[in-house]
Subunit: 339 residues, 2 copies
């Protein structure tokens, strides 16, 4: 076993920090394989929302609340829209003040290097390292637009979508994709004018969304969990995302938020959803790794001059890209069989 | 040759519309291969900017201006943030009023299906179809955040980034990634208060960006093109993106914008940059196609039960994902050689 992995499992924060840097640089393959057996214990909470919703303060309040309950907490702040994670770093400063010196808390901002897909992968691997390090709760905080949020919070067991009153039109614009990923909706800064209106708007959108999917559930929308009579013994419970109100900087509504997260965890575990979501995540990962590994192996076997020639032929419109690929693959397969 | 491709090359708008639908559904592989020899003639202009910048009106004004110059124009409107391309459809309505009935104009909104990568690919293929159909100018209009814009406008020969006065903080937030892709910056709605301030802010950011990359060029920032003495005969010209002001709905500044686009086209063609950018685009496409094709072939050869078993073993932490992939690939290669 790598020394660093061993130290990580013994609780070394320095080893943890070093491994996360390696994850960011995509140099942690062996370590990730070695620590994998120690993963799968943390509950991963994704937190997403536009700038101005007070997301960082909420993450801060959540972390403190979990600490009071005796849970250890890791925070991963990811900002796919900024190469310098400006928001995340600012958020860290606030958090440092409240959480620093507590060995049960670990905070990390992820730099955004390379593609969006790369960022989702880096986040997944970072969460895995923190999971193996023994943190009970991993909070993944991200800001972004549509696709990026969706990809990054895909790894979360519970996803919170944060709103704030008075962000107006943006709420409408952002909802389409975001509502689908929300397990719990939080209207933060709920002491501001318009909070009730925002809550109502979100509830309406939720009901609209659910009524198309699940008529029966809507009739019970006052309850968070709807138990249904089912004819075919399928998992017969539905989670209707609750809409909660918080004022994070005053800790208002935070205990209720923790309760909601707990209920969601119970729901996911009891229905077996937690396990089937894990299967889907593993499948995604395998396909993604296969895609990269197959390409890497193929490129290693490939004569770079052959590639350059083909590119030239394509540029001169002597061959189209698809036919070029077919040629390349056929030739390479032949040479593999010959070897 | 496919009948549709033949009709497309003869100028049939109906064949064009049908092929674009096939492109959206990823069913146009054969057609794309067949029409590829007829591509590479259009100048592709990417136009990106936040909502509220009047982007659609600007695209509209640009299209009309090109028509006056006798050029045929195709418009592709892509909105990666909305599954229904609300903005694009609204924009289309405005455009329809001004441009409908003109057979030298073709307008298409792209629905966003599947992943961001999928959208970039669909856009690329749609542009290729329009290019083969003979349109002189293809305008690709997109709104989105960071990564999405960057991926979609990667195919453009000239990229315009649109701003408007008074969008305030957003300008700062969006600039980091966006400035890198801008060939020309346009402050639209320049009759509004704060236009000069926005222009100044953009120029400052541009100079900051360039001074780190290219000290010499900054000293000449009053000119758009900076010719340098160079010791190693490398292409010795630099393009410093100009910042133009327009009021699209009144056609103010549009002729100047057309001039700037022309100058950029001349610059790219003269320096050979147009060609080397095309090489990079082809290379990207080959790698992406290889990645998908190799995966597809591998999955076709794979026993689904084998995959399910591995997923289960991973979930039980008996094997890590990387080792699982190595196993899969080794077994599959062996079976290929055996066949």
């Amino acid at each position: 076993m790598l020394k660093e992995v061993d130290e990580l499992l013994q609780g070394s924060r320095r080893a943890l920090a070093r491994l996360l840097t390696k994850v960011e640089n995509h140099e942690a393959d062996i370590a990730l394989a070695e620590l994998f057996p120690h993963t799968g214990k943390a509950w991963v909470i994704g937190i997403t929302g536009s700038p101005g919703t007070g997301k960082s303060s909420l993450v801060n309040a959540l972390a403190q609340a979990y600490r009071i309950h005796g849970k250890t907490v890791a925070i991963v702040a990811v900002d796919p829209t900024s190469p310098f994670t400006g928001g995340a770093i600012l958020g860290d400063r606030i958090r440092m003040r409240d959480l620093s010196g507590d060995s049960g808390v670990f905070i990390r901002s992820m730099a955004t290097r390379g593609s969006l897909g790369g960022l989702a992968r880096t986040t997944r691997d970072a969460v895995r390292v923190l999971d193996a390090a023994g943190y009970d709760i991993v909070l993944v905080e991200t800001v972004g637009a549509g696709q990026s949020e969706v990809e990054i919070v895909r790894i979360a067991n519970t996803t919170l979508v944060i709103e704030a009153p008075g962000l107006g039109d943006d709420v409408q614009a952002i909802k389409a994709g975001i509502l689908e990923i929300a397990d719990i909706l939080v209207v933060n800064k709920a002491d501001r004018i318009g909070a009730n209106q925002t809550v109502r708007a979100l509830k309406n959108m939720l009901e609209l969304g659910h009524s198309t999917k699940q008529d029966h559930a809507v009739a019970h929308h006052g309850r968070m969990m709807v138990v249904q009579a089912s004819e075919n013994n399928a998992p017969d419970e539905y989670w209707l995302p609750p809409v909660l109100q918080t004022v994070a900087i005053e800790n208002t509504g935070i205990p209720e938020l923790l309760d909601a997260i707990d209920q969601h965890r119970t729901y996911r575990t009891k229905t077996g959803l937690a396990s089937s979501i894990e299967v889907r995540t593993i499948e995604d990962e395998l396909v993604q790794r296969l895609r990269e590994t197959l390409l890497e192996r193929f490129m290693n076997d490939l004569d770079p001059q052959r590639m350059q020639m083909l590119i030239q032929q394509i540029q001169q419109r002597h061959i189209d890209p698809q036919s070029a690929i077919q040629q390349l693959i056929t030739q390479n397969n032949t040479s593999i069989v010959k070897d």
